[in-house]
Symmetry: C2
Subunit: 470 residues, 2 copies
């Protein structure tokens, strides 16, 4: 069976491969206003799975969902100096509403620290109101000059968490708890991505934060993608917005805050970190469809066999779909489901029925296994777990092959041609960082030699991870 | 035990009672930009339960979720004449982006027919692509001059479904399927609201629709609230956006479309339809917290008993929360949970432990039942079902008492002082509708005498439901 190559090979042109996957797998396309995107049903079903997995973890970390307005008075953003400086160039501004010019222009939220603190300052009175842990799922807008679907869009969907604590230590602990228990756990154990964690350098911090932690993943072209951030905001916003509390000894203090978020960019990361020349490849725990049952051209009791297989999958709790579209050739359908990255497919046709066995094919490595129709469910469960763990192993191998330990900026330049460079931060420093930036290379994060987070003020031997990034 | 009245009584000032509930039950408050709202965690948890119940039904009706941009080029809205006329006065317009004046101003979606059709026209080619059934959960903006939290806000959250069909009949069937299987089923069986269904009069139709079906609920002050709508769009948008398909005989035809939506307004409807002078009253199937376990001032093994009760509730699959805040008086906490409308509370204190029995109290009617700690779960399940069905019965009784059958416009004016009027549509007509509108009374919907939907062109004896409305 010859199949037409539907995608530009990754090795030929990675960005074009990415565009091809977006379009051919019906994930997303550009919106009419520059930088916006339309997320098509299949793409959105992946985001829904991400939301469900993240939301469970966010709630387990004690945060509750709420919703704050899209519109922020322009004056609110000006209150925190660094914050407005960071976001001013990216703002979308509403100047007309209800047929009239507005007295004060309204900004579309690029993030919600300012509007949320306006309410936190009313809701927080005493230490008994702390910690205050709030999250929202929302759209935000940051005008984007070089947009790329999912990775960098003018409007994107995300969750943004915002919290208040009584002490700097509690805020630090919560920011790192979100980093580890929500983001890292989700990315490693659901997305099968061996992301690196660390702190951003001062120049890469969120506008208004005293410390930004980040998670960075390696794409299949060796570039880095920032997958999420968790910030310690200190008392910066609290001081500007008078978010005060009475401590247990009756003293009035400013709260210590965190904010943290991940976005639809994660879908882009998924595509570029696991995809191959046949398309998307989704780890089973994340996949909206874990296995597709393909009815091969009918007759011979195939329909009944498909029903038996589907029943077995349902009983095993596997997310499945039946493809009975026999008017389209089998090869084309198989290619289509591979393109969409469904982890397993099971083929059922007259010959399979005769043999009493169907064939299960793995998307990740193409291996095939024969199975009795009624046992499809239990085998699928077992294969899905195996794929999940092997996809993580494979991604880790790919990453480790492409992380080079180096000592000089020139070596950084060389290694980041197709991977990450690990170099003592003392060899780089802020001047080295600025030099590398001129060549399009950034310090993605700083961490301790064992990969753990820096401890404030206590680390002298930090390691920098440098890369070209999306 | 004396409890301070925390809310303005409904009979004294219903709108103020509503504001009191919003604030004291920590549901929502006004945003800084006029007409926007902040949905607080408890209010949002109700919306999340609504979303979950609706989303399941929408998916069961075959629609898939997607996401279209917030920003619509101003020119798109102008393409459908009635549509732009209907929405122009309510638009919010972005004129600056990324620090520059935009060449073409961008409108924030008031609804998404125009941008979605732009994509449908690309995605639909042949009859094999139909029906195309898409839904999105999103925020929309309609500049509001007389805002009221949840009921009428400049920004609100909603779902909007958009579909394409091959024939007028299929579009009609789908619009009514959504009305009945998604909206009516949810409102009656989850929200415990005996809503009326029917068609809007021509003057009340959605801008661009050929037919609008609606669901109307009666609030406790006798006024109506439109809870949701499902529109037949005919081929209006398809013709403007060239949404064409090749039918099975190779002819090119315009698709027939529907659109349908419900919004955060439902939370307002819930409050005003079930609430009483003690606060919110949430039907059990909807309630984020179905039962609260209140630890009465400690000692005597109460903590262990609370743990046993909570274990029994967990095993029974009941959504519960434990309130161990013994520093706050029991009375105040009980009042607080009543205010939040939690359907059941169970009180556990030293005396209960001694007696081996705890007391379960119903929010809706205050009745109390004794139960062994370990049997709390099974009794709660039984009581919750009973409350669910009795709340619907009570709401139906209240509604029926306040629907008057009348024959003249003067009688309509009288009956709508505190309820709905039912009058033959032939006695009203479009001129009568205009006359009533001058007195702030509207025809909420038209249906057949048995309450079912009008059949296009076939009904001569339609009944009109008239009311004052939010």
């Amino acid at each position: 069976m010859t199949r037409q190559p539907v995608l530009t090979p990754q090795s030929e042109d990675f960005p074009r491969w990415y565009q091809d996957v977006l379009s051919k797998a019906e994930l997303a396309e550009n919106g009419p206003v520059r930088g916006t995107m339309v997320i098509r049903p299949y793409g959105y079903s992946i985001w829904e799975r991400m939301q469900a997995e993240l939301d469970t973890r966010i709630k387990a970390a004690g945060a509750e969902n709420a919703y704050f307005p899209l519109f922020i008075p322009e004056s609110y953003l000006r209150k925190e100096a660094e914050h407005v400086e960071g976001f001013a160039p990216e703002l979308a501004v509403v100047t007309r509403g209800g047929g009239k010019e507005l007295e004060e222009p309204v900004v579309i939220r690029p993030t919600s620290e300012t509007i949320i603190n306006t309410y936190f300052s009313k809701w927080v009175q005493s230490y008994r109101d702390l910690p205050l842990l709030v999250n929202q799922w929302a759209n935000v807008v940051r005008w984007e000059l070089r947009p790329r679907v999912f990775l960098r869009t003018t409007e994107f969907l995300w969750q943004e968490g915002h919290t208040c604590h009584a002490t700097a230590g509690e805020a630090h602990d919560y920011a790192t708890r979100i980093l580890h228990d929500v983001y890292l756990d989700f990315m490693v154990n659901v997305m099968a991505l061996p992301v690196l964690v660390g702190a951003k350098t001062p120049s890469e911090r969120f506008a208004g934060a005293i410390n930004t932690f980040a998670l960075e993943a390696m794409m299949r072209d060796g570039k880095a993608l920032q997958m999420g951030t968790s910030h310690e905001l200190g008392q910066n916003f609290a001081k500007v917005f008078d978010t005060l509390f009475l401590d247990s000894e009756g003293r009035q203090e400013h709260v210590w805050q965190t904010s943290w978020g991940v976005s639809t960019r994660l879908v882009g990361g998924l595509i570029m970190a696991h995809g191959d020349d046949r398309g998307l490849c989704i780890p089973p725990r994340l996949a909206p469809v874990q296995i597709v049952v393909i009815l091969v051209r009918g007759g011979g009791g195939s329909e009944e066999a498909v029903a038996e297989v589907a029943g077995s999958l349902r009983a095993a709790g596997v997310r499945h779909r039946v493809d009975s579209d026999v008017e389209t050739s089998f090869g084309r359908r198989a290619t289509g489901w591979e393109l969409k990255g469904v982890p397993l497919r099971i083929e059922v046709g007259p010959r399979d029925v005769e043999a009493g066995l169907a064939t299960i094919v793995r998307r990740d490595d193409g291996t095939k296994t024969q199975v009795r129709m009624g046992e499809a469910g239990s085998l699928a469960v077992q294969l899905l777990e195996q794929i999940q763990s092997e996809m993580l192993d494979q991604a880790r191998l790919r990453r480790d092959e492409r992380v080079a330990d180096v000592d000089t900026l020139d070596q950084v330049r060389e290694s980041t041609e197709n991977g990450f460079a690990r170099i003592p931060w003392s060899q780089v420093g802020e001047s080295g960082e600025a030099e590398l930036a001129e060549d399009g290379i950034s310090i993605r994060l700083l961490h301790r030699p064992d990969g753990s987070l820096p401890r404030a003020g206590a680390d002298t031997e930090l390691v920098a991870i440098a890369a070209r990034a999306y």
